[in-house]
């Protein structure tokens, strides 16, 4: 038997033993621990260079995950600033205010690129790398060097893309050499995301604690597995296009349409349904946080896991590289074919999100909920993602006539900024394990509210402007009846709020880490294995491995394994 002192469990209340909730004041008493890695690192006094070198070469999954998370949040601020510029530029679409035509075009590509591949995808992959090994009871991530390579490939690939777009080398750009660099950069960062996904999926498939069958893994790890496999199926298809485009663009430029061809053949990577693949983990975060906040075991867990898995049907839409539009003209056969494809690629992912949301919220009905910051961020973010998915559903109905309008931009922003909100919720939830701190709940709750306002402001006006036929990804040369300036100023203000929220959140986190307020090992009275180890998590996570027999091993262990002192 592994003693509680080794696993750092707390004392158990009778309520937990019964598998029901516990009252807010019944937090278990945590054991203390003086072997925290964070503590020893602080006192080491190593030089900055050594510290940087340690971060660059570390195979500790928590460091690799935090690198992904940190740079993704930098991109979040970057993309919000671009959103502000974009909105201001569109205030008066009859003439250019800030940039010339080429620069605006490349800026629009930078906006789309960073939103999806610089922010949304790596942010959740980073959280998965940092958290999943602890959740499944593993001492390390599978193939840590591959995960590390994944980060650096993504990092340098992102840099190449940025350089190429600044030098007018993106899709429809005027600099052919930089166009090659753009393709190389996107290819490199996709290889990075693939590498990280392989590492995460292999960890879940091979490194689970003894007794933890796949249906017992925590909801977030399940969503990480689904998202990783979906990424493994869709991203290589994007890679195949990039290889063709690169060879054609470098040597011929006649088969794939040169710079314009990049937009034609790569545009699908940055739009729904492919973007749904990158928000699967957002539902996993909510499903993880909600039952903990409600202090109850997750009801209907198999349905929840099924709902999360259902979102991966977006993969079918992604690999076909097209939006399957609902077109009810033509023969009955045409209508049937169109409806089936539309529902398969747009309806099922939306249904999966609704099921996962509904079942996750069931825990609030059955438990004794307390609304904490992690839950607030998660639920608000998921609602925003749902608004994006619903928008995507509507945008692909032909009669709605929304194709090619700013409505699609609104969809991407709802998904990306909603994803950011959920990710901030996840970071709040797992901050004790990643940084050894618990963030101030009231302050973070305020940021969640601001984040909601920011996301709605940045996206909803683009939905409305889409109905007025404001074109997508274009900043000038359009007009329509309606308050053009108002919608675009609101969108800019929304992006400004998101930048503010991210900056303030990072500020709170840094302040908490600098204050060094040590977090308890299990501050949320949580259910899964990561809360059985010290905060922050030590380098090899578990001092000794445990056997589990349910999806809430910590709750099980607390009541059922009591032994006399």
């Amino acid at each position: 038997m592994v003693s509680v002192r080794a696993l750092h469990l707390g004392e158990i209340t009778p309520e937990v033993r019964k598998g029901h909730g516990v009252s807010p004041g019944d937090h278990p008493k945590m054991t203390t621990n003086d072997t925290h890695v964070g503590a020893s690192t602080k006192s080491s006094g190593s030089s900055v260079v050594a510290s940087v070198g340690q971060w660059m070469t570390s195979s500790d999954h928590k460091k690799i995950g935090r690198l992904f998370i940190g740079w993704s949040l930098v991109h979040a601020i970057e993309v919000a600033v671009i959103g502000i510029i974009f909105g201001l530029e569109r205030m008066s679409p009859s003439s250019m205010q800030i940039f010339d035509g080429d620069a605006a075009l490349q800026l629009s590509w930078l906006f789309r690129h960073v939103l999806v591949l610089g922010l949304l995808a790596p942010l959740f992959i980073g959280i998965a790398i940092a958290v999943v090994p602890m959740q499944v009871g593993s001492k390390a991530i599978a193939f840590p060097r591959l995960a590390q390579y994944g980060f650096w490939a993504w990092f340098f690939g992102s840099g190449l893309v940025l350089i190429s777009l600044i030098a007018n080398g993106g899709p429809n750009g005027g600099n052919a050499d930089m166009g090659d660099l753009f393709l190389m950069g996107v290819g490199l960062l996709l290889v990075g995301l693939l590498s990280a996904s392989i590492s995460v999926a292999t960890t879940i498939l091979t490194s689970r604690a003894l007794g933890m069958s796949l249906d017992m893994i925590p909801a977030f790890s399940w969503s990480a597995l689904i998202a990783s496999i979906a990424t493994l199926l869709t991203v290589p298809v994007a890679m195949s296009n990039i290889i063709y485009l690169y060879v054609d663009h470098t040597y011929a430029q006649n088969a794939f349409g040169g710079g314009k061809g990049m937009e034609t053949w790569l545009g699908w990577i940055y739009s729904a349904p492919h973007t749904f693949v990158f928000v699967i983990m957002a539902l996993g975060v909510l499903a993880e946080v909600a039952p903990v906040a409600a202090r109850v075991r997750q009801p209907l867990r198999p349905v929840l896991l099924g709902g999360i898995a259902l979102i991966s049907t977006a993969t079918i839409g992604a690999v076909t590289q097209t939006n399957h539009v609902l077109d009810l003209s033509g023969t009955n056969g045409d209508k049937l074919s169109s409806t089936v494809l539309f529902l398969l690629t747009n309806g099922l992912p939306l249904l999966g999100m609704l099921v996962a949301l509904a079942v996750a919220m069931l825990s609030f009905k059955e438990g004794k909920p307390t609304v904490n910051a992690a839950f607030a961020f998660s639920i608000l973010g998921v609602l925003m993602i749902l608004a994006g998915a619903t928008g995507s559903f509507l945008a692909n109905i032909k009669d709605a006539d929304l194709q090619g309008t700013s409505f699609a931009e609104g969809v991407t922003l709802y998904l990306a900024y909603g994803g950011v909100l959920v990710a901030l919720g996840a970071l709040t939830h797992w901050a004790p394990k990643l940084w050894g701190v618990v963030l101030d709940d009231k302050k973070v709750l305020g940021l969640a509210g601001l984040g909601l306002i920011g996301t709605v402001l940045s996206s909803l006006p683009l939905y409305i402007a889409g109905f007025a036929d404001q074109p997508a990804n274009i900043v000038t040369g359009f007009d329509y009846d309606g308050p053009v300036a108002l919608w675009n100023v609101l969108a800019a203000a929304g992006s400004a709020l998101i930048a503010l929220v991210v900056l303030a959140y990072v500020g709170l986190l840094v302040a908490a880490v600098r204050a060094g307020a040590g977090a308890k090992d299990d501050p949320w009275d949580a259910h899964t294995l990561e809360w059985s180890i010290p905060s922050p998590a030590p380098a090899n996570n578990f001092a000794s491995l445990a056997t589990v027999s349910s999806s809430e091993p910590l709750l099980d262990a607390k009541p059922s394994q009591e032994v006399p002192a």
């Binding site: 038997m1 592994v2 003693s3 509680v4 002192r5 696993l7 469990l9 004392e11 158990i12 599978a142 193939f143 591959l146 693939l194 392989i198 999926a201 292999t202 498939l205 091979t206 490194s207 604690a209 003894l210 007794g211 496999i229 493994l232 199926l233 869709t234 991203v235 290589p236 298809v237 994007a238 890679m239 195949s240 296009n241 290889i243 063709y244 690169y246 060879v247 054609d248 040597y251 011929a252 006649n254 088969a255 794939f256 690999v319 059985s532 000794s544 491995l545 445990a546 056997t547 589990v548 091993p553 262990a557 607390k558 394994q561 009591e562 032994v563 006399p564 002192a565």
Partner: protein
């Protein structure tokens, strides 16, 4: 009162390399499938022209001057199952802890890999496809080049397995099984490439 979780026995075999290789093979399979799908799409969309004998209308997809060296292409196709056979032999020997046959199988497998690469280079030399000549040229080099890169990766994997084998790793069944799995994938992938690129053209 103290509490405890039941402790796990010492670490069991985790099959990480095998599962990781399966995931890589799945991703690489989607890469090749994506490339073949685009190949077929472009081929289907190519304009039509009269055949050389003027008797029928054919797709103007590949230049009239290009002749596919079928001997080399078919030899490659026929060689892949032997590669898979050698990889499986290595697994069989590894299960029996037969180091000599395990290493021999891996050496032969590597040699087959060299022969396959040689055949691909011969195809390039004989076909003389111009990369800038329409969609066919660019796509031909892109898809066969990608396949070649995957084959070279398999050879590198085999080389690593071989050196581990001659280094006395008698418990290396997982790595050798993963190597075999990858060569099975290569066989399947090349079969598809062979059919669509060299047979159907």
């Amino acid at each position: 009162m103290t509490l405890a979780l039941p402790s796990a026995p010492s670490q069991t075999s985790r099959r990480q390399v095998l599962v990781g290789t399966a995931l890589v093979a799945a991703a690489a399979g989607m890469l090749i499938a994506g490339m073949l799908a685009m190949w077929m799409k472009f081929r289907a969309g190519a304009p039509t022209r009269e055949s050389a004998d003027g008797l029928k209308i054919i797709k103007d997809w590949m230049s009239k001057d290009i002749i596919v060296p079928e001997v080399a292409a078919n030899t490659m196709f026929a060689t892949f199952p032997f590669a898979a056979l050698m990889a499986q032999w290595a697994v069989y020997a590894a299960k029996r802890r037969d180091g000599q046959h395990r290493s021999l199988a891996l050496v032969i497998l590597f040699g087959i890999g060299i022969a396959i690469v040689n055949a691909q280079v011969a195809i390039y030399a004989q076909m003389e496809v111009v990369v800038a000549e329409g969609a066919f040229g660019a796509m031909f080099y892109a898809i066969t080049g990608t396949m070649l890169a995957l084959i070279v990766s398999g050879m590198a994997f085999t080389a690593v397995a071989f050196f581990r084998s001659v280094g006395g790793r008698d418990d290396d069944l997982q790595v050798i099984s993963a190597n075999a799995l990858y060569w099975y994938f290569l066989t399947a992938a090349f079969t598809a490439v062979w059919f669509f690129v060299y047979v159907q053209k």
